[in-house]
């Protein structure tokens, strides 16, 4: 029995999670790294670091650089490949009775399909997040996410091969994110998550070279929050499937902004680096807010934004 606390459970495209706070892919490793620093069992779900069909070495260092209220990363999707993920990482992730969502990356539609099949067969995964938005790889990633037809095709193909809830992760580096969101909704996506990082760069003026070996990287952290929030608001008004908000969420107050404008859940990324227990602190903070505002069920808060509220 839950004691007095507000109801925090939400449904993200068929996946019922006990609260709306998830870890963002690539910022929580494969879970094990954070075990010493927080009670993982409290998370809504864990989204693991992106996996591809084959192992990937990732980009050369330097891979990260700090920027004003943000950071650039160009990891380049370093990962041991889907086979090793299933064998070596999943068993560990499963032990916390927290839903595990795999983040899937491919250079081709076939890659996406193969990884989806393998993960679905493995039976250890509760949902898939399809990363069509990584800015840090030469092939795949963002290319799929910025072209509605490609985005639609990936979604449709992936959905055909799995019974797992499929979340499509969108890139903000587009003219009209609503269009992409609508297209993947049509393609059968169970939910969309946004935003992935914004492409940026930083220059060492003394040596006139890029700070990152990859030249460009993905911008994340508080700096991007206003952009992420705007996109989440726009997309949540446009599509019927659940929207998961991501981007610069550092604390409960930030998370609440996303929920209020219509996000069904949120993912915490860069904040984990600064405060390893950011996710559970945010869960606590959301609960406190609900209590303070006498809201019994978080679903009664989601999407209650009063757009006209500040217009004279």
């Amino acid at each position: 029995m839950k004691n007095a606390g507000p109801e925090m459970q939400v449904d993200i495209g068929g996946l019922i999670i006990k609260n709306p706070v998830l870890t963002a892919s690539g910022t929580f490793g494969y879970g094990s790294e954070y075990v010493p620093y927080l009670d993982i069992t409290r998370l809504g779900a864990i989204i693991a670091k992106g996996v591809s069909l084959e192992p990937r070495a990732g980009n050369k260092p330097p891979r990260i650089m700090e920027t004003p209220c943000g950071m650039l990363n160009a990891i380049g999707l370093e990962n041991p490949g889907v086979h090793a993920f299933i064998k070596e990482k999943l068993p560990f992730l499963r032990q916390f009775s927290v839903p595990v969502i795999a983040n899937v990356f491919g250079e081709t539609i076939d890659d996406f399909k193969r990884v989806t099949e393998l993960l679905s067969e493995s039976k250890g995964v509760d949902g898939l997040e399809i990363n069509i938005s990584c800015p840090n790889v030469k092939k795949g990633g963002i290319i799929f996410g910025s072209d509605p037809d490609m985005a639609h095709a990936v979604t449709r193909e992936v959905k055909r091969l799995t019974d797992l809830p499929v979340i499509i992760k969108l890139t903000p580096n587009v003219t009209d994110i609503c269009l992409i969101a609508e297209t993947v909704e049509e393609g059968g996506a169970d939910a969309v998550s946004l935003i992935n990082t914004l492409t940026g760069m930083s220059v060492d003026i003394e040596r006139r070279i890029p700070h990152l070996a990859n030249v460009t990287g993905g911008l994340s952290g508080p700096a991007v929050k206003p952009i992420a929030l705007r996109m989440v608001w726009q997309v949540a008004k446009r599509v019927k499937i659940p929207v998961i908000g991501i981007g610069g969420i550092m604390n409960a107050s930030d998370a609440l902004e996303f929920l209020i404008v219509g996000a069904r859940a949120v993912q915490i990324g860069t904040a984990n680096f600064i405060n390893p227990s950011a996710t559970t602190d945010i869960i606590d903070g959301i609960e406190d807010y609900l209590k303070r505002h006498n809201i019994d069920d978080i679903n009664d808060l989601i999407g209650t934004f009063d757009e006209e509220g500040n217009a004279c």
Binding site: G26, T27, F28, G29, E33, Y34, Y37, K49, A57, G58, K60, P61, P62, R63, I64, M65, E66, P68, C69, G70, M71, N73, I75, E78, G221, P222, M250, T270, N272, F273, I274, P276
Partner: protein, 267 residues
């Protein structure tokens, strides 16, 4: 965890000694391990900054961590502006420590610039380990000029011999510390000597060439920009030689910061 600053003192131009008290649950750092520090009142700078532990004491109710740091950019500048009784966030200790050998014959430390900080903590550890034993601690310490040989007095108290070099010849040998060290290298036989080093990448690379082909034990502390400090972001990798056993990239915060010098791919 938040610590309270008891001292944050400039000890030479641009170099500071920071002493922080923390709750006693803070684990005792092993030499070579590091902490991530932040001003908790800011999100700019956003990320913690890694610093090797320079000193550590444990009393009944609290622990004290000391770091020695040089102001090189925004993060260290902000740190240098914090004052007594301000809070500072200290996460850690993180990372792989130096392997130490109480039975070692000659223990050689090579440090360049602020690399002296983690090396001093290691030397101290050796001194305490080996108090009654037959271990000789020898240090080579290079800096741009005499004033930048920070903490040299402490090193002298710990080591039996300290050789120095400066770019301008204002203290010790004029030139690079690796040059000074290379003059003595033949006296450090593979079987009976352990070498530890920390300093700029160029110094470590130089050293790797000096000890290449020699099977002497040599561990180094590598520095890289970090985000998480705990292995999650894959941001801090260095390249290892193929077949280094841990794949192409190794995370400085997890597989390091201490590496066997022979494993690094210098590029």
């Amino acid at each position: 965890m938040n610590g309270k600053i008891v001292k944050n003192q400039q000890i030479s131009a641009g170099h500071f000694l920071l002493r922080v008290t923390l709750a006693e649950s803070f684990k005792t750092p092993m030499p070579g391990q590091f902490v991530m520090m932040r001003d908790p009142g800011r999100i700019d700078p956003l990320l913690g900054r890694p610093f090797g532990v320079y000193g550590f004491e444990r009393s009944q109710e609290e622990v004290t961590v000391e770091i020695l740091y040089k102001v090189v950019g925004k993060g260290t500048l902000v740190l240098s502006r914090l004052r007594e009784s301000d809070f500072v966030e200290v996460l850690g200790p993180y990372g792989r420590a130096f392997d130490t050998y109480p039975e070692a014959g000659k223990v050689v430390f090579i440090c360049g610039g602020i690399g002296v900080a983690p090396i001093t903590y290691l030397a101290q550890h050796y001194r305490s380990l080996a108090a009654a034993r037959d271990v000789e601690l020898i240090c080579y310490y290079g800096a741009s000029k005499a004033e930048n040989l920070v903490g040299i007095e402490k090193l002298k108290r710990i080591c039996s011999r300290v050789f120095t070099s400066t770019d301008d010849g204002s203290h010790g040998f004029q030139g690079l510390i690796t040059e000074r060290f290379s003059a003595d290298i033949s006296s450090y036989a593979a079987g009976s000597s352990k070498i530890y080093a920390c300093g700029p990448r160029s110094m470590l690379k130089e050293l790797s060439e000096l000890v290449a082909g020699n099977s002497v034990f040599c561990q180094i502390l590598m520095e890289e920009r970090m985000a998480c400090g705990i292995g999650a972001c894959l941001g801090c990798t260095v390249l290892l030689k193929d077949g280094g056993g841990r794949g192409e990239h190794a995370r400085v915060c997890m597989e390091g910061p201490v590496f066997n010098i022979g494993d690094i791919h210098w590029g």
